[in-house]
Each structure stands twice: as structure tokens, then as C-alpha cells.
Amino acid sequence: MKFKSILTGVLLAFGLGTAAIAADVKVGFVYVGPIGDGGWTYEHDKGRLAVEKHFGDRVETIYQENVPEGADAERVMTTMAMQGADLIFTTSFGYMDPTINVAKKFPNVKFEHATGYKRSDNVSTYSARFYEGRAIQGHIAGKMTKTNKVGYIASFPIPEVIRGINSAYIHAKKVNPNIEFNIIWVYTWFDPAKEADAAKALIDQGADVVLQHTDSTAPQAAAKEAGNVITFGQASDMGEYAPMPRVSSIIDDWAPYYVARTQAVLDGSWESVDTWDGIGPGMVGIGEISDAVPADVKAEALAMRDAIADGSYHPFTGPIKKQDGSDWLGAGETSDDGTLLGMNFYVEGITAEVPQ
């Protein structure tokens, strides 16, 4: 009896919100954090709302927040597919294998996995070239640091994060040969208290620039309390911390992509594709550079943004050596996407080691 009533309660809690009204297409979203994280998941949910607004009654969306990366994710995706979702966006790297597994069981449901590299007939992948934004951050960081120490809060040692560290480092080093990167791996995407602790540790160790690859605004708050430390909004603008400590940001704009893919399902033209867009197509936005940045640095940063956008500059342009001193890119050579997607090495000059 008791077990049954608990079960009913749980079913009610999860099921009610999604009670069906007739719509042509049902789109599911699986989120790794809460919508209110102010960063990564917040932007994905903005994309979801854009889909609702664009299609009105023709499309119904459902979502689940705080889904752990692992077996739980499979359960959530399966539930969504059984509830009749036609298209499911799984929005974190760790959902890669769960997405592939569930997609096998539901060949008629389309899946879209963010930031991964495994595809199948009904699984697309999509990601944004965040490293383009990291280049601009690195430039500003290198110019503005007084201690020559840049702190970096990294989440998991996956190519996406390592790429960001390399891109930021290369461009900071270019304008400031004495630059030093202190990297902390927190092994979480979202844990405000731990992110704040990491930011404080970096600041205690002398960093006056803190870059983050985690989802919450906690490092911004820690930097604000410390005073003379600058930060950058991650995934979302985090504009509430402007003009200091947040001096600029990388904004992920998923809305156009989500709308286009939902449209494709409506039209029946959906195909498994691999999308990797950057500043040019607008998937990566550079948040307003605040007045805390000197005017000349701001102008350089904007020029770099425009050069990346029109394709005249690639953030990974040689000569670049790998950390072990071996050659990676010759002078003027740019990296191919394959190397970037599988990046598991630091570039020359970074003193830390990549966790394996």
C-alpha cells in the first residue's frame, strides 16, 4: 500500500506537468543542471522557450532538470520517448553514451546530443565553437592581468574543456609572455559552493583573472567579493556581474538551431548531421565588453571577434607547439576540426598536466 502511494506520488510529480495537449511535434530537453543556474542550462532553456514561442500550439516541449550524467539519464530519455517525444535534445557531454543507447531502442525518435562526437541514423550532434570566444577572453586576460596569473576553473578533462584552456592560453601568452595559468579541475558542471571555493583558492594563490568552464555564477560572486579580479560570463551573459568583475562573456545561442531542427522534424526533412558553429553563424556570442576594459584592449578584442566571425582568423593558427615541445602546427597553418574535437593535450607553455 505504502509503496504504491509513493509510486503514485512520484508519477504524479513527474507526469502531471507534461499532460498532453494535442500538438504536431513533442520536443524533449534533458538538462544537466537547474534552469536557474544562470549559465549553461539557462541558455538551453532559453532555446526551448524560443521553440515554444516560434511554433505556438504546433509544438509541445517537455524537459527534465538536474539529470545526472549516467544511468539516470537513460531512464529520463526513455521516459520522454515513451511519453511520445519526437525529438529529444540531450544537453551535456556525459549524455553521449546514454543517448546512443536509448536512440537504438527508439529508432523513430530523433535525438540531438550537444558537445559529443557519437552519431547514428537518429542521433545528430551539435556544439558551438566556444574556443573562439576563449581566444578573445585570453587576449583580454593577458592584457589586463597585473599578477600575470590567470586562474581557470575547469570541469572535466574532455576535449571541449581542454580546447578552451589552450585557446585562452595561446592568446594570453601572445600579448603577455609572462602569463601563467593555474588550472583547477572541480569534476562537476554545477556545484556553486565548490565553484566558489575553487575561485577563492585561485584568488588566494594570486590570480587576478578567473576563467570558468562550469555552469553557475558562483565564481563571479567570489571574484566580486575579492575586489580586483576580473571574470567572464560563461555560457550565458551573466550581465548582473558587469561591469566588474564580469568584463565580457561567451553566450551560447541555441535558439536558432533548436527552431531549425524542430522545423526539420515538422517537415519530415530531419537527418542526422554534425553541426559545429561559432561566432560567424551566431551560435557563439561575445557579451558586451564592459568599461572596466581599457579602450584599446576592447578595440583589439572586437577586431579579433570580427576576424574570427568572417573567417579571416582561426584561433588555432601556427606556429604552435604541443606541451612536450613537439610541433603541432607550422607557421600559418590552422588546425583541422578533427584534431580540435579530440584534443587531449596542452600547448607549449602550460605547466600543468592534463588529467588522463
Binding site: K2, A193, K194, A218, A352
Partner: protein, 307 residues
């Protein structure tokens, strides 16, 4: 005072701040469990305290009001648990888990308008003379009031449980509810009060995250601190001072490993990251080898006067 390239004057305060939320939540839960009740809703009460404390502090601009209201909010939420488990005899584990879900959902709902707002922060209390001691002063004697309050609570709980009649009754109820009942003690009423105390300290612990440690409101920001608090109670073998040791040990190693990473020490990151858990396991093994487990005898057993 520099050890391994890390300034202890910076590290010690950081670890005390980092440990205070779980410390407060764990000492409350220790009292609850001492009375024979297992409340798994710590996470829910913490996050509710975090959001209520934040809202009140922002609106009044007085952080202490935030903490007081957080204590009431945590206690209020625990009353739901107390009524369900003590009077309606519901399963404690399921009800506690439910409480966590309610807390997480409720806090997300009422905290929505407060995302991205800056809260007033606690001022550091400078204790005359003591704060001026070189090294020791900035290390231990220049914290905000809640850090001292948490240590005071530990000391009080330790004293009350060990040395007073109230403590004796609480332990009796937790160790053998039928015997306590036979002696004429109001088992339900005593447990009710213990549960509310646990809720209040969990609420304050949560508010410390949103008002001091981070400080901001973000949905789901306790991110598992309540579960660590629960583990800490077992780790401490239900002894108040060991809760303090455990919290500072865990918090200390967490902060230390972040600092070691920050200075780029040549230890693999994986080992540093798992070090807090590794040390916890080692200590637990040590306790079970050389100490004695003292889980209250009536822990998580429902009580009804008719039985």
C-alpha cells in the same frame, strides 16, 4: 606560515568557511538521530534555509535576520516531517527523501526572482586583542559570527548530551524508546523538538552557503551538502566534537586540494580530487577497527504508545 607553498593564514579561514554549512547541518542531524529519528531531508531543509535566508537578507539588508528566518524556515519544514513520521507513523526514509524533493522544488520556485541579486555579506567580527595576535589572529579569530556560532552549538550540544538531564532523556529515547516510554517520558514530544532543532540548524547551514560562502542565490546551490552532512554524522559516530573534526577534516582537505591544484603541485589531479573521500574512508575504517559503533538503538524505528 607557508606549508607546501600554501599560506596557512589563508587556508585555515577558507576551510572553516567551507566546513561551516555541513557542520551546522550535521550537528542538528546528530541530535535528531540521537533521539532515534532518521531524517533524510537535510538537503531539502538546507536549501530552504538558503533561499529564505537570502530573501530576508536582501529585503532587510541585515544578514542576521536572514539567518534567524532561515532557522525558522528549516524548522517549519521539519515540522512537516515530524508530523508525518511521529503522529502519522509514515516511513522515515521515504518521508525524508520526500522532504528533500519538496525543499528543492519549493526553493527553486520562491527563489526565482532573486537570481543574480547581490546579498549583504556578513561582517567579520574582530575580537579585541585576540584578532591582533600575529598569524593566529587572522587565522582563527577574524571570522563572521556564524562560524563562532557553529562552534558554540557544537560545544553546547556536546555538553547537553553528555552532562545534563535533558541529554540523558534524549539519549534514552533514542536508545530504547519502549523503556523511555515506560519511564514516563514523552517519546513523540521529545523527538518532535529534536527534529525541529535539526531543521533549524540545517536552515542556518543552508543560509551560510547563500549568504557567506558563495554568496548569491542559485537554484539547487546546496548541491549535495545535505548528504555529506548525513554521512558526517555516521563518520562522527554520533559524537558532537567528532562532527566538528570530521567537517573540518573534510572541508580542509577539499580546500587544500583546490589550493594544491591552483599552485600546480606535481600530484595527479585525480588523486587530489578523490583525497577528501579517500581520507574519509580511511578514518571510517580506523573507527570501526579501533572504536565502537554507537548508532542509537531505536534509530529509524517508528514509535507508538500502544505498542
Amino acid at each position: 606560515m607557508v606549508m607546501f607553498g600554501i599560506d596557512l593564514v589563508l587556508l585555515i579561514p577558507a576551510l572553516m568557511i567551507s566546513a561551516t554549512p555541513v557542520l551546522l547541518a550535521a550537528i542538528g542531524e546528530a541530535v535528531v538521530e540521537k533521539s532515534g529519528v532518521l531524517n533524510l531531508g537535510v538537503e531539502g531543509m538546507m536549501i530552504t534555509g538558503a533561499v529564505i535566508g537570502f530573501i530576508i537578507a536582501v529585503n532587510t539588508q541585515i544578514p542576521i535576520y536572514g539567518f534567524i528566518c532561515a532557522a525558522f524556515a528549516g524548522a517549519l519544514l521539519s515540522v512537516i516531517f515530524a508530523i508525518l513520521t511521529q503522529y502519522m507513523m509514515s516511513n522515515q526514509v521515504a518521508t525524508g527523501l520526500g522532504l528533500t524533493m519538496v525543499g528543492l522544488g519549493l526553493s527553486a520556485l520562491i527563489g526565482k526572482p532573486y537570481e543574480g541579486i547581490k546579498s549583504p555579506t556578513l561582517t567579520k567580527l574582530e575580537i579585541p586583542i585576540l584578532s591582533d595576535i600575529p598569524i593566529l589572529g587572522p587565522m582563527i579569530f577574524s571570522h563572521d559570527a556564524i562560524v563562532y556560532f557553529s562552534i558554540f552549538i557544537i560545544a553546547s550540544v556536546a555538553f547537553i548530551i553528555k552532562k545534563t538531564r535533558i541529554g540523558l532523556i534524549l539519549r534514552a529515547v533514542g536508545e530504547n524508546q519502549d523503556a523511555a516510554h515506560a519511564l514516563g517520558y514523552k517519546v513523540i514530544r521529545i523527538r518532535f523538538i529534536a527534529i525541529m532543532f535539526g531543521g533549524a540548524t540545517a536552515g542556518i547551514g543552508g543560509a551560510y552557503i547563500s549568504l557567506a560562502r558563495v554568496p548569491q542565490w542559485t537554484e539547487g546551490m546546496t548541491a549535495g551538502a545535505g548528504w555529506i552532512a548525513l554521512a558526517l554524522v555516521v563518520f562522527a559516530s554520533w559524537k558532537p566534537w567528532r562532527v566538528l573534526v570530521g567537517a573540518y577534516l573534510f572541508g580542509g582537505i577539499t580546500v587544500l586540494q583546490l589550493n594544491l591544484q591552483a599552485i600546480g603541485v606535481a600530484i595527479p589531479v585525480e588523486i587530489l580530487s578523490m583525497s577528501p573521500y579517500l581520507v574519509t574512508i580511511v578514518v571510517l575504517v580506523g573507527i570501526s577497527l579501533f572504536g565502537h559503533q554507537t548508532a542509537p538503538g531505536s534509530l529509524a524505528r517508528p514509535f507508538h504508545a500502544s505498542q
